[in-house]
């Protein structure tokens, strides 16, 4: 994957996250049931997006690092 695609995808993920944790994207998911791992659905929904963010940013970092090595520069 190129650096540009990786950055776009990481940016897109967080924009989607913003949409799905605020109005109006959050409305269908702001319900108490079903419980997920014991947690209310509304809470688990946000926790899942946060966990996704860790994964997305880790993957992005892999791509960024590979690119920095290839070009041998700091930026």
């Amino acid at each position: 994957m190129t650096l540009r695609t990786a950055r776009l995808l990481a940016g897109a993920y967080h924009l989607l996250m913003l949409f799905f944790v605020t109005w109006p994207g959050n409305v269908p998911f702001a319900k108490a049931e079903p419980l997920i791992l014991g947690l209310p659905f509304s809470m688990a929904w946000i926790a899942a997006w946060i966990s996704g963010s860790v994964i997305v940013m880790t993957l992005l970092d892999q791509v960024e690092k590979r690119n920095r090595v290839d070009h041998g520069s700091e930026d």
Partner: protein, 485 residues
């Protein structure tokens, strides 16, 4: 031995340990301003991670978070939602700030902004707004520390004494060692806080309801409205989506603009450290889950605390936990308060001297450092006076502090990414945004869609910044090349 004595002994031991770590840390640091403010740009991943995490999670998260979960249910989830959103842009912005900091020797946020938009008045304005936002924030931390100590010692150690002792210690190590002490004590306090929060958050639902799922099933049966977003407002009525969404937005925009967090980019050893911190930061955010669980465990519990902010100490005391656990919990809550308070005190002194005073009077490095230390004491004293007054409007002040802080985002982004932005554009934008936020804070009934006043402020700020910039002559290419390098 009486319970409160055991608790007091544990707290004392904890405070003594914090003080030792704080004082030891400062011995390795150089005596100049870069040493005191930016810890000689030496922080590795472990310290950066906990410095950032522990500075974000304050008495507000540790006491206010469970308080919201307890009284306002799903409304509390906004605190969970904004962290990852606010941090992600720093993956790119952070290293950029750090590289400009290394090149031009910046140690504060205003230095970066005025490096691009040279103006003493802009620098002074940023210093003033930062200080206005900082004081209520420090006050809350001190009061939080005092409340916890008073609650768990059965009132034997009153608020004035508890906050005086805990913040006496904070001020001692901030004065003597600056950024290095803040870094190492936060690492210790951060680890402590996470362990205590998870242990109690998992224990209480099990002890009281037989499990987390069981607890929520019972809450849903009795209080079906509580767990449905966006939760409840302070009056118990359903909260508005406009307020919930803009609280997330303003917190995400404002979070890294807090000078004490922004300046962390200057303390990092290298860019990889900043990037790793950004990537790992959301794991710190998940630490709010057990904290919320503690709050939720109080919902169906018989009896209620004097105010929802007391729910955490209330649950700890009412469930007859052993004195050692109560003491450890108290130390965890103090960690949350002190690890934010120290960073705030340290940053406010650095900002006022570097960006305010120093712009108008030329001071020697030695004098600067002395003045910063005097200011730590001064800010601490003001906050201490406020902390003794149970004035509920301070919570409102804190919410508005975010309205001010979020206004720093457009100047920062313009400084880093928009070559056509001008000094006049940035100053008028900042004034217009802050004035709008202040106006709607004073007149909440006029807010469109119940939006947070900081967001309304940004809606005015950004167009003003852009249009005034375009209407004024562009900065010289020479200046831009010199800044960007």
């Amino acid at each position: 031995m009486e319970q409160w004595i055991v608790v007091t002994i544990i707290i004392s031991a904890y405070l003594a340990l914090t003080l030792t770590i704080g004082l030891m840390a400062g011995r390795k640091q150089t005596s100049g301003v870069t040493g005191y403010v930016a810890a000689d740009r030496s922080f590795g991943l472990l310290v950066m991670y906990f410095v950032t995490g522990a500075s974000v999670f304050s008495a507000f998260a540790f006491l206010g978070g469970p308080g919201w979960a307890y009284s306002r249910g799903a409304a509390a989830f906004y605190i969970l939602a904004y962290g990852a959103l606010g941090m992600a842009p720093f993956y790119w912005i952070g290293p950029r700030i750090a590289s400009l900091g290394r090149r031009h020797n910046y140690v504060t946020q205003a230095q970066l902004i005025t490096g691009r938009f040279p103006s003493r008045n802009l620098s002074g304005l940023i210093a003033l707004l930062s200080l206005i936002a900082f004081v209520p924030y420090v006050t809350l931390q001190m009061r939080g520390a005092g409340i916890v100590i008073e609650a768990v010692t059965d009132g034997n150690v009153p608020i004035w004494l508890g906050s005086a002792v805990s913040y006496g210690i904070v001020i001692t190590y901030v004065l003597s060692a600056g950024a290095m002490a803040v870094g190492w004590t936060n690492t210790f306090q951060g680890i402590f806080m996470v362990v205590i929060a998870w242990a109690l958050g998992l224990y209480l639902p099990h002890a009281l309801y037989g499990g987390i799922g069981e607890m929520f099933t019972q809450i849903i049966a009795e209080r079906p409205d509580l767990l449905t977003g966006p939760g409840l407002a302070t009056n118990g009525e359903p909260w508005s989506w406009g307020a919930y969404s803009t609280f997330i937005l303003v917190s995400a925009v404002g979070m890294m603009m807090w000078p004490h967090l922004f300046m962390k980019a200057f303390t990092a050893k290298d860019d990889d450290t900043i990037r790793r911190t950004v990537i790992l930061f959301p794991t710190f955010q998940l630490f709010l889950i057990p904290v919320f669980l503690i709050g939720f465990s109080g919902v169906l519990f018989p009896g209620s605390p004097p105010s929802s902010d007391f729910i955490l100490p209330f649950m700890i005391l009412e469930t007859n936990l052993p004195a050692v656990i109560v003491g450890l919990f108290c130390a965890g809550a103090l960690s949350a308060s002190m690890s934010t308070g120290d960073a705030l005190l340290h940053a406010s002194a650095s900002v006022v001297v570097e960006d305010g005073v120093q712009q108008f009077v030329d001071l020697e490095e030695r004098t600067q450092r002395r003045l910063m230390q005097a200011l730590v004491l001064f800010t601490g004293a003001i906050a201490y006076v406020f902390a003794q007054d149970p004035d509920s409007s301070l919570v409102l002040l804190l919410a508005s502090a975010y309205g001010i802080i979020a206004q720093f985002a457009p100047p920062v982004v313009a400084a880093l990414y928009w070559r056509r932005a001008t000094t006049s554009g940035v100053i008028t934008g900042l004034l217009a945004g802050t004035a709008t936020a202040f106006f709607f804070w004073q007149n909440p009934e006029l807010k469109p869609f119940d939006m947070h006043e900081g967001i309304v402020g940004l809606l005015v700020h950004i167009p003003v910044l852009i249009s005034v910039s375009l209407a004024t002559p562009a900065q010289s290419e020479e200046h831009l090349d010199q800044f960007f390098g």
